[in-house]
Symmetry: C2
Subunit: 133 residues, 2 copies
DNA sequence: CGTATGCTGAGAATGGTTCTCGTTCTAGCA
DNA sequence: TGCTAGAACGAGAACCATTCTCAGCATACG
């Protein structure tokens, strides 16, 4: 598989970054190197890299998608109140995967997984006396 | 915690449904019972129910959110090519949770989790000779 | 009865992402 | 070098699920 210059630059920015980046943020950074780099191209190449198994993606509560290199395996704690999301240093899946049987996958080729715990952060618990119980 | 009539109807529709429903679908169904039920109210009450620990939510690749009762614990296999998502009858988290330490949670109150395997479905593997390797 | 508070519906606004389409780049070839 | 076909690109418009705004209505309470 050969990557064109645009996708390669995109992947480079993602790998240098120490956090997940959104499409908009990636666009900002890529424009610094090539000012005419378009937003559509950013999203086009993000899809390409994702299908190629080089980039992973997840959606934040506010609707934007954030991207990271596939090899980074972070999971998250996300507040359903304020939408704040922070890394969670655990992974429920061993390195060898879940031992998914071929029966379960039925020809599906896994590339990456997302695991997220949703709940209420400390400050949203205080401001919202709704918590069930 | 007391639920008003609108949130209660919403939760009822979700519990009757045998699949996750989007905000738009919920609106459609709720209008059948009360034709003037507004879309804003659907989303308002979805947020309310989510914060109350009664409803869970996840985002599909096409950007819409789908909702289910908290007690339903399904996970998914989602194609990064076509966006198709189907239930996966496994859960990486035991009933007792992950044994998350208080140190990790730092006051965060977990309500539910999402687990999703992203990859390429059989037909997207065929149409896209991109697969890395 | 009068007022405060909260919930609601209708429609406008928002904003990340995708689409359109004319242009530009690249590869292959003579 | 000059030419052509096809792929990739950029700019801006379009899309659409969701959120916001705000006036109207219901309920509770004095």
């Amino acid at each position: 598989m050969t990557l064109g210059p645009r996708p390669r630059a995109l992947l480079g920015v993602l790998r240098e970054a120490n956090a997940e980046l959104s499409g908009q943020e990636l666009h900002e950074r890529l424009k610094q190197a090539s000012p005419r780099h378009g937003l559509a191209t950013v999203y086009r190449n993000l899809r390409l890299l994702q299908r190629s198994g080089l980039v992973r993606c997840r959606k934040l509560p506010n609707g934007e998608s954030v991207y990271a290199p596939l090899e980074r395996d972070d999971h998250h704690l996300t507040c359903v109140g304020c939408g704040h999301s922070e890394p969670l240093p655990i992974c429920p899946v061993g390195t060898g995967g879940l031992g998914l049987t071929k029966v379960l996958l039925q020809g599906f080729k896994p590339l990456f997984h997302t695991f997220e715990i949703h709940g209420l952060c400390r400050s949203c618990q205080q401001s919202e006396p709704l918590a069930h119980g």
